[in-house]
């Protein structure tokens, strides 16, 4: 009886060991061949070097298919995302990146334009508002409301009456 228990326990341990080993092997196998999603995650950030304005993850040409496979191989070799992108930049130029390397130049121009526009607008407001401040004093009741058309004024009256 006890022998049978011992044998069964041994079998169970053996099966568990094999299952663990199999699981580890499967996991290892998964590590060695990166999935399409892992490839696409990087390919999405690259533009096809030959087609115009087409991200690498969706480009249907054979060349792009081969480049995606290259990414898969590089991932399998343990290369990092940055290394893979760098490889593509070295071989095909900075145009393969979906964002230019010089980020400062990208954002400085629109940011400067926005700030300049905002500044000009602010100065404009100061200029346009000046006459009312320096001009003759207007009674409060006349100065406050912005001139409205009659319809709105009537509508506003009605709303006030309800309250």
């Amino acid at each position: 009886m006890s022998k049978r228990i011992l044998r069964n326990t041994q079998y169970a341990i053996l099966i568990a060991l094999m299952a663990t080993l199999f699981g580890a092997l499967t996991a290892f196998a998964q590590d060695s061949t990166p999935t399409d999603d892992e490839v696409n995650k990087i390919a999405k950030q690259l533009f096809c070097p030959v087609c115009e304005s087409t991200p690498l993850d969706v480009c249907p040409t054979q060349a792009c298919h081969d480049w995606r496979e290259l990414i898969r191989e590089m991932l399998a070799d343990g290369k990092s995302e940055a290394e893979i992108k760098q490889y593509f930049v070295e071989h095909f130029g900075a145009r393969v990146l979906n964002e230019p390397p010089n980020k400062f130049a990208s954002y400085a121009v629109p940011a400067a334009a926005f700030l300049l526009g905002a500044f000009m607008l602010f100065r404009g407001f100061q200029m346009w508002m000046k006459p009312s401040q320096t001009g003759p004093v207007v009674p409060e009741s006349e100065a406050k409301p912005i001139p409205q058309d009659e319809y709105i004024a009537r509508l506003e009256e009605e709303v006030k009456k309800q309250k």
């Binding site: 399409d36 298919h65 526009g117 607008l121 508002m129 058309d149 509508l155 709303v159």
Partner: protein, 755 residues
């Protein structure tokens, strides 16, 4: 023979349009009414002439005249007749002719109707639109002849307008056929819509120039072209939406907008056009911003031509292709000349365009509209910089970088790509502020507190709060992270809270109710849908705009119902009917918010997976499981297409939902394939399955790419409501004549309809 006839009529059209420009300008300058009348008749003649030219081209396309190069390039025997007709705008030469044809139709419409009423402007309108038209027809006549025929000579088969010596006409058996991607219904309608938008924006520009030339610089030109502008905007907007839908259905990358330069080329005039639509209202009502409106319409026109130039000159693929193409430099010169002339005219009339009112408050409606303009212009600059930067770096690589190699340390000396990350990061805060303005817009019409009473301390606090993000962003701009709890998001939330508090202060009751409502919606979204901070900010803004706008509708309709003793629904209907422009505008704002829900959904929550499975195997994404059931492949010989169609069963949380049939179509003539997704659309999300076309597909294995695009259908719903909104706003009103025929230096509106 027929092609020669077509070319002959085209040349006559060119001469007639050229004559009308000359006669109108000279006749008006020398005060010769008979010459001006002759110019008008010449202009009216261009439309029948160009219609005849286009008719000949369509005849050639439909009847398989492959000896004509254009017909050979864009059609084939297997194409159905309707596609042969629409192939007219499927290639370079045809689309230029289409442009001219639309231009002539619109100019004729303007000069045919109400000539006497607008007599002072119309001769110059003929000049301006005639110059534009002559430029486009000239391009067809001299460089891109759609009637050029193929001739076989000693040096092979080449296209020529006139038969060269020692050559014979060559007629291929079949044409190359239209690019399969262009055979989609969306693509059949999308280019005409965009062109309609482009061309109809020329009319307000022509009136603006006429106003500058004649010195009649009041807002009459704006009143005359108000509806043109709205329709132009409608066409352009709808062209953009249809282009998005086409990309979503046909291009097979699971999205609708890729920030591609071609898309941006059409988006840029839309931005200035939208800014123009808003700021002209202030000129009409308050007589302000006259310089600015002129500048905006000049910019819109320049961007319309620039957009056509970008897509037609080949400059996007390479600056060298542009230099080698015949039409690229011509476009460039044309844009330069028209822009310089227009700005010179504006400077010439600068004094007479001075506004006659000042702004009362920094939070008045006028001020908000100006802020809106600043934001649209900023988005324009983001887009413009993104489009031209690759061209500049490519150009500098061959010039400055070669001449002075030392500059390579300071600038990019190779062609670069500016892709979606730049546009998304740079534009999203601008769009967010625009949404805040949309929330404030309806309230600004109901009287408000001046910033003067806001208190100096509060003003300083507001300025500091708004300035705070600049410093850390400037220092750590490459470490911006928008996760929950990061410093960037904390600052953004604080800023929004401060701005909202300011709004509540300024707009009092009208705002706080909406803010509470929007906060509740955001809280609900946080509890049930997402913890993504950008999405929550987006949902908050959408809810705020919607609540403020709905409240505006409700408040006004209720007031009317009580004042006029009407049923609420009747009051609502009449309210909108009597104030079409205002409430049409609000409907457009609501539609924009529906679109914003869709954009937030797909941009932030889109998930995807790709995998190869055998028949019977499954792929999982989000709550969905798809099971590959079967595949079939067959040829449709008359159409010259091979179809490969997979059938997959779709389950959500284990519950069977139905089957989807993604397929790929391979076109033999052009050796191109097209991926048609299997889509399951609900208001919650789209399940979008592609049969990946570069992998072999059989029962043993097929590669599928699956996207789940949450909320994306709100984008399409919003675009339908948008259409309704513009139609409401642009619908002709009975008293239009009375308003427009009135003269005077400036007309003060008496109707809320013009608000």
């Amino acid at each position: 023979m027929i092609a020669d006839f077509g070319y002959g009529v085209l040349v006559v059209s060119f001469l007639v349009s050229f004559y009308s420009v000359f006669a109108a300008a000279y006749g008006e300058y020398k005060k010769l009414p008979s010459l001006v009348e002759s110019a008008r008749r010449a202009m009216l003649l261009t439309w029948p002439l160009l219609t005849l030219t286009a008719g000949v081209l369509v005849y050639l396309l439909v009847n398989d005249h492959y000896e004509v190069q254009f017909v050979y390039e864009v059609t084939s025997r297997s194409m159905p007749t309707y596609l042969k007709v629409t192939a007219w705008w499927g290639g370079q030469a045809g689309s230029l002719l289409f442009w001219s044809w639309l231009m002539s139709a619109f100019t004729s419409l303007v000069t045919f109707r109400k000539w006497d009423r607008d007599r002072e402007f119309l001769p110059w309108v003929i000049v301006v639109s005639g110059v534009t038209m002559a430029f486009f027809i000239g391009m067809n006549v001299f460089y891109e002849n759609p009637f050029a025929q193929l001739y076989q000579g000693f040096d092979g088969i080449t296209p020529h307008t006139f038969q060269p010596a020692d050559s014979i006409l060559f007629t291929p058996d079949d044409g190359r056929g239209l690019n399969p991607l262009l055979r989609h219904p969306g693509m059949v309608i999308h280019p005409p819509m965009l062109y309609l938008g482009f061309v109809s924006f020329v009319i307000p520009y022509a009136f603006a120039m006429a106003a500058l030339i004649t010195g009649r610089t009041d807002d009459r030109w704006i009143r005359l072209t108000r509806r043109w502008t709205l329709w132009a905007w409608l066409f352009l907007s709808f062209g953009l939406v249809l282009g998005g839908r086409w990309a979503y259905d046909v291009l097979g990358w699971g999205g609708y907008w890729g920030w591609d330069p071609v898309e941006i080329a059409a988006f840029m005039p839309w931005l200035t056009g939208t800014a123009f639509l808003h700021s002209v209202m202030i000129q009409e009502k308050r007589g302000m911003f006259k310089h600015w409106n002129m500048l905006l319409i000049i910019l819109t026109y320049a961007l319309v031509i620039f957009g056509t130039f970008l897509t037609r000159s080949g400059v996007l693929s390479s600056v060298h292709a542009f230099a080698e193409s015949a039409i690229g430099p011509l476009f460039f010169v044309f844009i330069g000349i028209t822009l310089i002339t227009s700005v010179a005219l504006l400077i010439h009339r600068w004094e007479s365009l001075r506004g006659d009112t000042e702004i009362k408050s920094m939070f008045s409606r006028e001020a908000l509209f100006l802020l809106n303009n600043l934001l649209f212009m900023s988005i324009l600059i983001v887009c413009f910089w993104g489009v031209i930067r690759p061209l500049l770096t490519e150009l500098s690589a061959d010039t400055i970088c070669k001449w002075y190699p030392a500059v390579q340390n300071y600038m990019t000396c190779q062609k670069i790509t500016v892709g979606p990350p730049y546009y998304e990061l740079a534009n999203s805060p601008l769009f967010a502020i625009l949404m805040l303005l949309m929330a404030a817009a309806p309230l600004s019409s109901w009287g408000l507190t001046s910033i003067g009473s806001f208190g100096k301390v509060n003003k300083v606090a507001l300025a500091i709060i708004l300035a705070i993000p600049i410093i850390p962003t400037a220092i750590w701009w490459d470490q911006l992270r928008f996760e929950f709890g990061s410093w960037a998001t904390t600052i953004i939330v604080l800023m929004i809270v401060e701005i909202i508090l300011t709004f509540i202060y300024l707009f009092r009751g009208a705002m706080w109710q909406a803010v509470i409502g929007a906060s509740l919606v955001t809280g609900l979204a946080f509890a049930t849908y997402t913890h993504n901070i950008i999405a929550l900010i987006g949902f908050f803004l959408v809810a705020l705009v919607l609540l403020v706008t709905f409240r505006e509708f409700y408040r006004a309709a209720r007031a009317r119902a009580q004042a006029q003793a009407e049923n609420f629904l009747v009051a609502f209907w009449r309210l909108v009917g009597r104030n079409r422009r205002r409430y049409g505008g609000y409907i457009i704002h609501i539609s924009m918010m529906l679109m914003a829900i869709g954009i937030l959904g797909i941009e932030i929550f889109q998930t995807e997976t790709q995998g190869r499975v055998a028949a019977g195997d499954k792929l999982n994404l989000a709550n969905y499981t798809i099971e590959y059931r079967e595949i079939a492949s067959w040829n449709d010989d008359p159409k010259g297409v091979n179809y490969t169609r997979a059938v997959v069963d779709v389950y959500e949380n284990g519950i069977y939902l139905g089957e989807l049939r993604p397929r790929k179509d391979f076109y033999f003539e052009s050796q191109q394939s097209m991926t048609i997704p299997g889509q399951r659309a609900t208001l919650r999300d789209d399940l979008y399955i592609l049969l990946v076309d570069w992998e072999p597909a059989s029962m043993e294995g097929a590669t599928f790419k699956i996207y789940v695009n949450p909320l994306v259908n709100w984008l399409w719903l919003g675009s339908l409501l948008f259409l309704a909104g513009v139609i409401v706003a642009a619908w002709p009103e009975k008293d239009l004549e009375r308003v427009t025929v009135r003269t005077g230096r400036r007309i003060h509106q008496t109707s809320a309809a013009d608000d």
